[in-house]
C-alpha cells in the first residue's frame, strides 16, 4: 500500500502531465483518443484526489519539518506554474488571431477560463485545508523573515522583466509595435508578468526554506 506522501507525488505527476496534455495536446485525435478532453478529465480527477488526500491525511502529505507556510508555498508554486503555462498557451493562441480582438468578449479564452477556474477553486480549498491542519500557530517570525527575502526576489524579477519589456518594445519595428500595443494584448502581457512574479516569489520561498534546513 502506498503512503500518503507517495500517493501525493503520484497525483501531482498525473496532474502536471494531464495539464500539459490539456493545454498543449494536439487538436486531432491520437489513436482515436481526444488528448485535450482526456487530459482535462485526468487533470480534474487528480486535483480532486489531491484535495481528498489533503483533507484526510493532512499531516502525512508533506515532510514533518516543513512549516505550514512552506507547505502553502509549494501549493502556490504548483498552481502559479500551471496558471502561467495556461496563460502562455493563451498568448500563443491570441498571437495567431487575425484580426486581433478589440473587445474582451471577442477573446478566445473559454478553455483558459475553465482551467483557471478549476485551479482557483482547488487553491481556495487547499488553503482552507492546510490552515485547518496548521495547529495553533500558522506563521511566525522565521516565516516572515523568509517571506520578506522572497518578496524582494519577486520584486527584483518583476522590475527586470518590465525593463526587458520596455527595451523590447523600444527596439521593435513599427509594423510589429502595432500588435503589441493593442490594449488587450498589453493587458494580457502584464497579467503574465504578475503571475511570473508570484511564481518567482514562491520559488525563492521554497529555495530559502531548503537552504535554511541545510
Amino acid at each position: 500500500m502506498w503512503s500518503a506522501g507517495r500517493l501525493w507525488q503520484v497525483f501531482i505527476a498525473v496532474a502536471a502531465v494531464a495539464a500539459l496534455a490539456t493545454l498543449f495536446g494536439p487538436a486531432d485525435r491520437w489513436w482515436g483518443v481526444d488528448i485535450g478532453a482526456t487530459g482535462a478529465l485526468l487533470f480534474f480527477l487528480s486535483v480532486v484526489g489531491l484535495l481528498v488526500l489533503l483533507a484526510l491525511r493532512p499531516g502525512e502529505v508533506f515532510p514533518e519539518d516543513w512549516s505550514p507556510t512552506e507547505r502553502r508555498s509549494w501549493m502556490r508554486l504548483l498552481i502559479t506554474a500551471l496558471i502561467l503555462l495556461a496563460f502562455a498557451k493563451y498568448l500563443w493562441v491570441l498571437s495567431q488571431a487575425d484580426p486581433v480582438p478589440k473587445r474582451i468578449g471577442e477573446l478566445p479564452g473559454r478553455q483558459l477560463i475553465h482551467f483557471i477556474f478549476v485551479l482557483i477553486i482547488a487553491w481556495g480549498i487547499s488553503e482552507r485545508l492546510m490552515a485547518r491542519a496548521a495547529g495553533p500557530v500558522s506563521e511566525d517570525e522565521r516565516d516572515l523573515r523568509l517571506r520578506i527575502a522572497a518578496d524582494g526576489a519577486g520584486d527584483l524579477a518583476l522590475s527586470f522583466a518590465l525593463v526587458v519589456c520596455v527595451v523590447l518594445l523600444a527596439s521593435l519595428p513599427a509594423s510589429h509595435l502595432e500588435w503589441w500595443l493593442n490594449p488587450l494584448v498589453l493587458a494580457n502581457v502584464f497579467i503574465v508578468l504578475l503571475i511570473a512574479r508570484a511564481l518567482i516569489e514562491n520559488l525563492a520561498m521554497i529555495t530559502l526554506y531548503a537552504r535554511a534546513r541545510r
Binding site: 512552506e70 496548521a134 495547529g135 495553533p136 500557530v137 506563521e139 517570525e141 534546513r213
Partner: protein
C-alpha cells in the same frame, strides 16, 4: 573576520520537563513546531523577543538558554 555562533540548550531544557513537547513550547512562544525544530538543530537564530519568550517558557533565564561565541 570573526564568525558568530549562537548555541542553545533548548532541547536539553525542554526534555528535562517531561510534558513539554515541541508543539507545546511552540504554542507557548507563538511559533510553529518547525521553528522549534530549527532552533533545536541550531539552524535558526531567534529574535530577542522570541529568545526571552523561550527562556520564560522553559522557566529559566536567557543566558541559561543561549550562549554566544565568537570564532576567529
Amino acid at each position: 573576520m570573526s564568525e558568530i555562533l549562537i548555541r542553545n540548550r533548548i532541547r536539553e531544557l525542554r526534555l528535562a520537563r517531561a510534558d513539554l513537547t515541541q508543539e507545546k513550547l511552540g504554542a507557548a512562544c507563538g511559533v510553529t513546531r518547525q521553528t522549534i525544530i530549527a532552533l533545536e538543530a541550531g539552524k535558526y537564530a531567534p529574535s530577542l523577543e522570541l529568545a526571552f519568550k523561550l527562556a520564560l517558557a522553559l522557566g529559566t533565564t536567557l543566558d541559561e538558554v543561549f550562549q554566544y561565541e565568537e570564532k576567529y
